[in-house]
Amino acid sequence: MNNSTAADAKEYFACSLAEAVGRKGYYVLPVEAMFGLLRDEGMYDSENISPIVLQNFNKHFGADAALFTTIEEWNKSWFLTTGSLTIKAKFELVSTSTAESIWDFSTRITVNLDSESKNVLVAMIESAVKTAMEDYFPNCLQANISAMDRALPYGKYHPQFNMDGSKMVPPNKFADIEIEK
């Protein structure tokens, strides 16, 4: 679900989450196959997914859980020599058999797009261009990998499965992450 003003944000997330979750040791259903099915059935927007639909994911595809993501903010900002991208997102894993929430987490990720030039004029132009022209996908991918790394336990396929029991989830199930470009 995209509550931000950036129309592109949904695709950035949709195309990066499978890798972020797969890296943690979980089987993730094939992305393009699932998107195709959801589009064909008019369910691409997650507002349309009811508990009965979730049960069908379990029955027909063997999915134990569905990951719902809400993009709350996707803001590019630029002022003089500094630029940044701020992404706020909420993640929730929902059981497909009971529709109950089994895990949730929120993040605020700030990508620093400042120029490194010591010349003020060059720095202004560089940071403005960076902010305007940046391909944000790698930032979004890194942000989602960081988010899952902070809070999602290792899945059964990860070599460190069952070894992270003592790892603490950040307080309030929220992480503030900064990424330097």
Binding site: C15, A18, E19, V28, V31, E32, A33, G62, P138
Partner: protein
Amino acid sequence: MKKLVLMSAVLLLLAACAQPPYIYYGNSSHSYYKAVKKQDELSVAQYKASLETVFKRSDAMGIKVPPGLYCDYALLLLKENRNEEAKAYLEKEKRNWQEANDMINFLAKRYGLD
């Protein structure tokens, strides 16, 4: 004796560093995003190539291809009417990941590959 212990520690450390990653995605997610966004022949071809790179590198490292990638490659082959090859890649997904069974059987039926 001290030298032996030190050498063993160094060798152990080097062995640990030499472990392949658990999983390798390469540039496949970024290429997928570009293919979804642009929806032109070039970006789809680049996505396909990025998947082939993941398959080769995973094979070379002796690790599994990440979840879903064999299946998504099969869907690209279906668009090229290469149905037998697509079926083979769907089977690879099933062999690689037991959780894929239901989904792959569903897709095989949907696309007449069963």
